[in-house]
Amino acid sequence: MNWLTTRRHFALMIAPALLIYSLYMIYPILYSLYYSFTDYDGVSATTFSGLDNYRHMAADPVFWTSLRNTGVILGIALLLLIPLGFLLAVLLSGRVRGSGALRALVFAPAIVAPILVGLIWIFILDPQIGLVNAFLLAIGVPAHPQWIGGPTLSPYSIAFVYLWQQIGFVLTIFYAGIRMLPRDVLEAAGLDGATRLQQLRYIQIPMLRETFGIVTALVVTGVFKVFELVFALTGGGPVHLSEVMVSYMYHITFTTQQYGYGMALAVVVFVVGALASGATFLGNRRREKQS
């Protein structure tokens, strides 16, 4: 086609998006990377400190705690969120009456602001005022577990709340995949006497391989964005034991104002997140090739 566009028009049309995007997304990456090699603190003169921040990080126990907690959330998301979301999608794609409405209801937590989700769950998980311990007391269990605020359970509780918020989202993606399956294959299998469980194991799950890949990629990306839940539920405490990578980076940067170290943590969050997503992507590709 030959309706002439001049380069000037092209430049004018693309300029606003290019400018804002470059200034607010690309330049900040370079900025963070640069300052991660300095001892910038906003007060004294900034000097170039090479890899000091990264060395400091390797020796910082809180960093490793935050990495482990992020790993806990990732593990629970992969081992529970994805299978449960899938099973729920199978359940709600069958002949349950009103399953459309149920799917919409289960999706509801996904549209609630994560910071509000955190506040809501305080009233369920808090050891003193929370519903769970009130319930345990009512049925005569004397134990009083510190679901949040204690030294051990917090990351698991945060992972569970994350699961609660995301399950409707995961369900929806699986449901869309299930809907696309050719119906005649399942019908034929049903007529040949395959049980529901066999159909699931030998037909639906293998045919949904690509959907599983997409969900895994989305969940892996999502886990590295968990921040508000930590902020609201525990504030990273006590003594940073429930910090995730992002919340610890936020604490170092904005509370202690060690900007150089904070930027080094931000760079590591970026790199670890990108590596995890990259690994998922490669895994998906390899599995697709095998099939």
């Binding site: 086609m1 693309i14 607010y24 002949r95 919409a104 009233f123 869309a176 970026f270």
Partner: protein, 306 residues
């Protein structure tokens, strides 16, 4: 993410055939119907359990503080006092106003400039070359999909101060626009690439200029995608917290999310009022969701679902 460049919202897919298998014998159909009843019971129970935390907050918002601590399930002495307290303490109107302004401006401007860029990247044809530049720039934009917002917080804070934007709506509007550009461009270029040349060729014959081509010929046909993106972007801005907490220190600019994060400080141990405030934020959102749930779900899963 899906690697397909032309993702479609879930609702546009072919509808499945009705879920009926013909020819079942009476015996198996009875067994099946019992299976359906069990499955239904399980499904309803699970849905109730998932929704329970939301219902719990609403119930607590009508309880006195004594009851919240001692008998949270008690249905006597329900009270509206918490709401009175919440409305007196909280500047809900300011929170809503600020968030609405941010959402309307950043989503509108973001979509307009994303559309212009996407149009330039896919529909423009040059006398010679240009295709390579267009592709390279498209990938430059798509790279943003891999950038987590958290690495941007401090640099953006510094940029806002340097540009004298700190303390204004634009401190948030600009990063919100920037964050939404990559996905807007992913979806828009995906659709624009499949756009048939014939319509534009006919328009050229009629002497339509570039600007009218973009807005009056092509744009109207992009409306479904733009609507999907608008919903997705509004939800993002509405719920956004990390930038808001970093870039706002003026109470008159408080957004809904930022306001929620301050409830614990504001109310201390007045749990009833805290829950009433939470309900006042939660319910409008759920009502809007109920009204537009198909579009909301399609918007939030766009790109993942084809």
């Amino acid at each position: 993410m899906s690697t397909d460049t032309s993702p479609r919202p879930a609702t546009t897919g072919p509808l499945p055939t009705p879920d009926r298998v013909g020819g079942a014998t009476p015996r198996t159909s009875r067994r099946r119907s019992r299976g359906v009843i069990v499955a239904s019971a399980v499904a309803y129970l699970i849905t109730f359990v998932i929704l329970f935390p939301l219902l719990w907050i609403v119930l607590l918002s009508f309880q006195t503080n004594d009851n919240i601590l001692a008998h949270p399930f008690s249905l006597s002495d329900l009270t509206l006092a918490n709401y009175q307290q919440a409305l007196e303490t909280l500047n809900l109107l300011v929170m809503y106003k600020n968030t609405l302004i941010l959402a309307v401006i950043s989503v509108t401007v973001g979509l307009v400039i994303s559309y212009l860029a996407a149009f330039a990247l896919t529909r423009m044809v040059f006398r010679k070359g240009g295709r390579r530049t267009q592709n390279a720039l498209r990938y430059y934009f798509l790279a943003g999909l891999a950038i987590p917002v958290y690495i941007l917080l401090f640099p953006v804070y510094r940029i806002d101060i340097a540009l004298g934007l700190f303390g204004t709506y634009f401190a948030l509007i600009l990063p919100y626009i920037a964050i939404t550009i990559p996905f807007n461009i992913l979806l828009l270029t995906g659709f624009l690439r499949d756009f048939p040349d014939e319509i534009e060729q006919a328009a050229v014959m009629d002497g339509v200029g570039l600007w009218r081509m973009a807005w009056q010929v092509t744009f109207p046909l992009m409306r479904p995608v733009v609507a999907t993106l608008a919903i997705l972007n509004v939800i993002y801005v509405w719920n956004e917290f990390p930038f808001a907490v970093t870039l706002i220190n003026d109470p008159t600019l408080t957004t809904v999310s930022l306001g929620i994060s301050q409830f614990q400080g504001v109310y201390s141990v007045d749990y009833g009022a805290m829950m009433a405030s939470a309900t006042l934020v939660l319910l409008p959102q759920l009502v809007i969701y109920a009204a537009f749930q198909k579009q909301v779900i399609a918007g939030m899963t766009a790109g993942a679902v084809r």
